[in-house]
Amino acid sequence: MTFNVLSLTDAISKLTILNGTTPIRIYDLDEVPDEILPRFCPCLWPDVNAGVVSGSRIDRMSFGGGGITSTGARKDLVYTINYCFCYMPVGTGRMEIKNHFPKVATITGAILAALIGSLDTVTGSVSVDVSSWSIPGRSISDPAGSNQFSGSLLSLLVNEFTELG
């Protein structure tokens, strides 16, 4: 059995998501900076604040013991993986609110399109689907908790078969 979170965050980090004509920065789990600076934005990163993985459970699907080899019981490893999108720090530029939020919505749409369109098959996962997203306003903190950003939150529901290597 392999817990394939790293494969998934790696696959997401390799997506191309455009802000206009410029790709946004996407961090893998081993690349998330402690502090997100304005020059890093807009950027998408695994939500190391609220939890990269949440809602985890193992669903038993069949009789039998074990469950991590092809001869064991069949079990599903189900979890949610969470991401933050930071558009710009709060207080950046003039007319910040009316300028930032349409862009947050537009880029969030581009992120959704990329996640829905490009993550059909990821090594180790039989199913990856966007399960929720929100644009909570000017309340997204960077990992250091020192900067506030306008942005969005996104979650993906993942299903793995535990008997697969």
């Binding site: 699907m61 092809s70 069949r74 098959t121 039989v126 199913s127 299903n159 078969f161 008997e163 697969l164």
Partner: protein, 257 residues
């Protein structure tokens, strides 16, 4: 071809030459069952089953109501009462590939029912099927589960690759099912077999497992290998253009027991 369990998102649905996967919500049960005898008497110790006479059904299709011109589910399926060439390919942890399980048959469409959807109020359609349509000669086919020989993709040249190992040879014929979802010319599709080895040079014609000369565009059908005909252990798809250069198709072979 992979082995193991899977999830429904890797299922694909083809009816009458069209890929309806994007409309399918669920279909089934995909069944081959043997009914119990209806004529047991008081004197019979047990009630028997007719083991030589299977009942084959693809159950009911629930799909998304969509009237997209030419290819929408509503456009294609809103006329009940006719025979439908149904193929359900089940990919294993990935999109269907050669050798994956497939369920095929020619079934009567019993109805077309527009339904108020239960998910986000999406309008849906319910389409129940009968057993095999008696108006279509499908030989003495007594099974509906077989092997996918070619996933739905374009080909431009004849097949020189190895085929799929179906485990063992048989001697009772079968049926070759095909859907050409697009073609720019006229082409013949077929299933070849090999008794000895799974290499290019060993494959030969399987009598009956050949389509008619298919026109450009969309086409579908079956090729019946008569009961009693030997079918080799190894199977593969083949094509021959008489005009044009590309055909997108999916095909399968169901081995009769």
């Amino acid at each position: 071809m992979a082995t193991g369990r899977t999830v429904s998102k890797f299922r694909r649905l083809y009816i009458d030459g069209y890929d309806l996967s994007k409309y399918g919500i669920n279909i089934g049960p995909l069944s081959v069952s043997y009914p119990e005898s209806m004529v047991a008497t008081f004197a019979d110790a047990i009630q028997g089953a007719m083991l030589g006479v299977p009942k084959i059904s693809c159950g009911t299709l629930n799909g998304v109501f969509d009237n997209t011109a030419t290819s929408g589910l509503h456009v294609l399926m809103n006329g009940a009462g006719g025979a439908r060439y149904v193929m359900v390919a089940q990919g294993i942890q990935a999109a269907p590939a050669q050798g994956d399980p497939v369920f095929c048959g020619v079934f009567g469409q019993l109805a077309y029912e527009g339904v108020q959807g239960s998910i986000d109020d999406t309008a849906t359609a319910t389409i129940p099927f009968s057993g095999p349509a008696v108006s279509v000669a499908s030989g003495a086919l007594n099974d509906a589960w077989g092997l996918l020989l070619h996933a739905n993709a374009a080909e431009t040249v004849a097949n020189t690759a190895a085929g799929v190992d179906d485990g063992a040879a048989s001697a009772n014929g079968g049926v070759f099912f095909y859907h050409a979802t697009a073609s720019n010319g006229t082409v013949t599709l077929s299933c070849q077999h090999s008794t000895t080895t799974n290499v290019n040079g060993s494959f030969g014609t399987l009598t009956g497992a050949t389509s008619t000369l298919l026109p450009s565009g969309v086409s579908f059908g079956i090729g019946v290998v008569a009961p009693g005909v030997a079918v080799g252990r190894y199977l593969r798809w083949q094509l021959a253009f008489t005009a044009g250069s590309s055909v997108t198709f999916v095909c399968a072979f169901i081995r009769a027991k």
